[in-house]
Amino acid sequence: MFAEFLQYLFTGITIGATYALIALGFTLIYNASHVINFAQGEFLMIGGMATVSLTAMGVPMVLAIILAVLLAGVLGMLLQRFAIAPAKQADVVTLIIITIGASIFIRGLAQLVWGKEYHVMQNFSSDEPIRIFGAVLNSQSLWVLGIGAILVVGLVLFFTRTLIGKAILATSMNKEAARLVGIRTQLVLMLAFLVSAVLGSVAGVVVAPITFTSYDIGIMLGLKGFVAAAIGGLGSGIGAVVGGLLLGVVEAMAAGYISSDYKDAVAFSMILVVLFFMPRGLFGAKVVERV
């Protein structure tokens, strides 16, 4: 009984950590520019696919990962510079459509360059599962949780201790004021996208050994990440992490205890319930509406 519960919990936390990392990416970009970046999932895909193709060409693993993350980062900046920035004061919905177009475009490119097959990546450490109280844990899951935690801590430090981080926060609070104090907002926005892309691609690399990777893996994962971010409250870092973990655990519990057919439906219903009682998500800021 307990072993069963523990198993579901482990599964849920592992996948939840992935959702959390993607949700953090959404949150970052939303905070900086109030844009929901539907192409976030594609950064995850690029991290995994680029690493796999580079290692297949003989590049050592660590270097491959660094290059893959760099590639994703560059793509993130290009996305901001050429797709978001030119749209300037466009409607919220228009920006959503632009990012959707970008995600389709990136996916199409990935399909051309890397093909449509699924690829496997080796576990970072051992292939032997770890046994705890009757439940098993994939050693890669510990990597996901560990690296996830490091990234979260890193982000917190970045935003509170570094100048660039504070500049991003300032831009998100009031763009005009930030410009007035000399912050180059265009550069800051590109940086936000860069960091978000790096986040997504690292998540992609660390998760690929568990989930396999292919050109279209970003769609569903990106969507679930958006869901997690919304549950936690858009704009809140803690919310993103909590939302992601919560979503993963609820999914796993639903699959195990209720019905695996409807586990996704349970997860989506959970969002509706959360939003019904807390219209801004769990940790969403109480926004004062300027009239």
Binding site: Q7, F10, V120, N138, D216
Partner: protein, 384 residues
């Protein structure tokens, strides 16, 4: 906008006019139409199918074509969506005016196109698996894969032979997994066996330990069967090994490919599945009629595309060859003549099996065209 419509219809008109003129000439190509799920959730099916069709149309043309005429392949990508499939079938029949259609990677796509094909009276060889495609028999619809019902029968027979009567079922919620599950539940009653646990996962899921744990904790479970295709079954297989489950493990023919072994790795050791002999061509006895056909297809495909051969590509191969055979037997591309020729094909040795068509059976295969394979030392071994 109007300009685009004008330009486009102008192009259609020009092609139609050219077609009219060309029909007066002699070596006008035989048009083979195809709608496949080349991209999207069913690209596992459509991608090798398209590669196979392209490759063999080229090859046949190099060898002189059919009835002295070159083959022309007109293909569209339905992205795994049945509505798109129906539209492209409409385009193939009415706009491109093809002589025969070899396509329909998924059951949904195939069934959506069936009314059109029946009404337009164009022979259609489907590459999809569900039993409803050819049962009840439709005059103009044929198919090359064995039905999912046959797969279930074959697997359950092998289970019974090993003394297993109660097993857990884990299937994908997509078309293939879902209809495989339905057929399994149906066949199980007839064979006096029992499904004691029935869980599912969706196509984009990345971890199935919860579902497998559920099965493991069910009383009396003696084996596990996974119906699905794509990366899902590979994840199930890995999770299965991680959980340390030792029960006999069966997969469906949806993963009968070397790429599955690549994805599943060591976890696949010991699992069994029904498959065409495509994966073990060299293990076939020399007097097996399929040996040469299978060996040739595998060698040619892998040489051309530098990637592993797949069961689904073989469906397309058989479909194309059957079409060519029927056209040659009919001596023309007259649709009724070709249809009748298709119906009367007997003893045609394909990669998927040996086809014996008849007016009541537009599939032409039996459950025993499936061989049971087992993974030993990371390779496929022919068991039965």
């Amino acid at each position: 906008m109007l300009k685009t419509i004008l330009r486009r219809t102008g192009k259609f008109a020009a092609i139609a006019a050219a077609g009219l003129v060309m029909s007066a000439q002699a070596a006008e190509p035989i048009k083979i139409g195809s709608f496949l799920s080349v991209t999207g959730p069913a690209s596992f099916l459509g991608d090798p199918e398209l590669k196979t069709l392209e490759m063999y149309v080229e090859k046949i043309n190099e060898d002189g074509g059919v009835l002295g005429r070159p083959l022309e392949l007109i293909h569209y990508d339905d992205v795994g969506n049945a509505s798109n499939a129906r539209n492209f079938a409409s385009r193939l029949i009415r706009s491109d005016r093809v002589d025969i259609i070899v396509g329909g990677s998924t059951t949904g796509a195939t069934m959506a196109a069936v009314p059109l094909v029946e009404q337009a009276q164009v022979p259609f060889i489907s590459l999809a698996g569900a039993v409803v495609i050819t049962n009840p028999v439709k005059k103009w619809v044929f198919k090359t894969p064995q039905t999912d019902r046959m797969a279930a029968e074959r697997i359950l027979t092998d289970m019974k032979d090993r003394g297993i009567t109660r097993f857990g079922l884990i299937s994908g919620t997509g078309g293939f997994g879902s209809s495989g599950r339905t057929q399994t539940l149906d066949v199980v009653e007839q064979m006096g066996m029992e499904v004691v646990a029935d869980v599912t996962y969706s196509g984009s899921d990345t971890d199935m330990t919860a579902q497998l744990t559920n099965i493991r904790n069910t009383d009396g479970v003696e084996a596990v069967l996974n119906f699905g295709f794509g990366q899902g079954p590979a994840i199930v297989t890995r999770n299965y090994a991680q959980l340390g489950m030792e029960l006999p493990f069966y997969q469906s023919h949806g993963v009968a490919s070397d790429s599955f072994l690549e994805l599943a790795g060591d976890a696949a050791e010991g699992l069994r599945l029904p498959a065409s002999p495509l994966l073990v061509p060299d293990s076939l006895p020399d007097d097996d009629p399929q040996k040469k056909v299978v060996q040739d297809y595998k060698a040619e495909y892998e040489a051309r595309w530098d990637s592993k051969v797949s069961t689904f590509g073989a469906y397309a191969y058989d479909g194309l060859m059957l079409a060519v055979q029927a056209i040659e037997a009919a001596g023309s591309t007259d649709k009724e003549a070709v249809r009748e020729a298709l119906e009367n094909i007997q003893g045609y040795v394909g990669v998927t099996g040996v086809f014996n068509m008849s007016p009541e059976d537009h599939n032409g295969l039996e459950a025993d065209s499936f061989r049971i394979l087992e993974v030993q030392n990371g390779e496929w071994k022919l068991i039965n």
